[in-house]
């Protein structure tokens, strides 16, 4: 049994090292809230960055990880909220800092030219810190939530050493967890990708 696991592990290591190419990307991201996110944050988020790494197992398929930082913020104006016999009025400010950690699988449809369109799926956890301020008072909730992120994108090689431009459309689904609701959003990413 042990020998079988060892063989499988060696095969995996061999596969990962035999094909030594990898891709590293850093992208700026604009996000468009949807679902419960749009109730807390009606506005587009202009603050986001993602870092993606993909180890190519062959010409078309790679596995890796993706992480980043997304900030949603909104001034919702003067609101009155009532729960039971309690009512609170004040200017409401909401903030979300979101840090995804995804394991990714990426399929590159065509790697023969300068354009490399791809589809990717990320599965993992998202650390969300949701803060809702009324006046000087803050309600802060944090949670590690399950996340899923399908993605369609394209890499375009512009120079030597595998330097290129990446553009991608992503949908980040986050399941509700702890005291933090589901916080999905679409994002458009553009940035730099290196292939070596």
């Amino acid at each position: 049994m042990k020998r079988r696991y060892l063989t499988a592990l060696l095969l995996l290591v061999f596969t990962l090292t035999a094909y030594s190419q990898s891709k590293f990307a850093i992208t700026y991201s604009v996000a468009f809230p949807t679902g419960e996110t749009s109730e807390l944050f009606p506005s587009t988020s202009w603050r986001g960055v993602d870092v993606d790494y993909s180890k190519l197992l062959n010409d078309n398929f790679g596995v890796g990880f993706s992480t980043g930082w997304r900030v949603f913020s909104d001034n919702l104006g003067y609101l009155t909220e009532t729960a039971g016999t309690e009512s609170v009025s004040g200017f409401r400010y909401n903030y979300l800092n979101s840090f995804p950690v995804f394991a990714t699988g990426t399929y590159f449809f065509d790697t023969s030219g300068n354009f490399e369109p791809y589809a990717s799926l990320g599965v993992g956890l998202v650390y969300n810190r949701l803060e809702q301020d009324v006046g000087l008072f803050t309600s802060k909730n944090t949670a590690w939530q399950f996340g899923l992120r399908p993605e369609l994108g394209m890499d375009y090689q512009i120079g030597y050493q595998g330097v290129g431009i990446r553009a991608a459309l992503r949908y980040q689904y986050v399941a509700s967890g702890g005291d933090v609701p589901s916080l999905p959003f679409f994002s458009f990413n553009v940035g730099v990708v290196w292939k070596n």
Binding site: T85, V88, V134
Partner: protein, 215 residues
């Protein structure tokens, strides 16, 4: 001119640093800009009490200044009349709009409205003995909040105005029943005129919230 290709990883590090620096300063963007935007109005009430009746009420002619370090037996201190007049006038306006009638405290009012102000730690549990100067029988050992529990707020740079509506007929040896609380909290910044305007607006807001709906 000679160009040198920077190794991709060096490039990446630089880009990542710039991106992270950008985001670090953007962690909590769009904070409130004006002092008014920090004001909060909180109200809570006893669900066991009916507020839609023609009650009589009385109102002390001063707003008590509460200081946690003072003894309740010390002579009472009051806030500046410039502010207390606005508070008491506003309370009269809103209570009258509710259909309540002000009477002298000797006439046995149904409700007694007590206004106090803090500029430090907020205490719903402060000693009712502070009000002995107004009603000696308010020197009971504690406040009671029948059927509800008011929230707690605090802040070292803030001022708080606490309005307690008490039911005179429910007074016992052990408890002063507070049937409605209105709390205004905000930064003690701005001109006197600015603070007075904010107090006035926020008191009006308190009486727009349940169980009242003054507009």
């Amino acid at each position: 001119m000679k160009y040198t290709l920077v190794k991709p990883l060096k490039n990446l590090g630089l880009l990542a640093s710039v991106a992270l620096a950008f985001l670090i300063v953007s962690c909590y963007p769009d904070r409130p800009e004006f002092v008014e935007e920090y004001d909060v109005v909180y109200t809570n009430y006893s669900p066991d009490y009916s507020f839609n009746a023609d009650y009589t009420y009385s109102l002390p002619e001063a707003v008590l200044l509460l200081d946690d370090s003072r003894d309740p037996n010390d002579p009472p201190e009051f806030i500046d009349p410039e502010f207390s007049n606005v508070i008491l006038d506003n309370l009269r306006k809103n209570l009258n709009a509710q259909g309540y009638t002000e009477v002298d405290e000797e006439a046995g009012p149904d409700l007694i409205i007590l206004a106090s102000a803090f500029d430090t730690q907020f205490l719903y549990v402060y000693n009712p003995g502070y009000w002995c100067w107004y009603y000696p029988w308010y020197c009971g050992p504690g406040w009671g909040y029948p059927g509800y529990a008011p929230g707690y707020v605090s802040g070292y740079t803030t001022g708080t105005l606490l309005i307690q509506m008490t039911a005179a007929d429910g007074l016992t040896e052990n408890e002063v029943p507070v049937i409605w609380t209105g709390t205004l909290n905000g930064l003690l910044q701005g001109s006197d005129a600015n603070i007075i305007g904010r107090i006035d607006r926020n008191l009006d807001q308190a009486f727009k919230q349940p169980p009242f709906d003054n507009n």
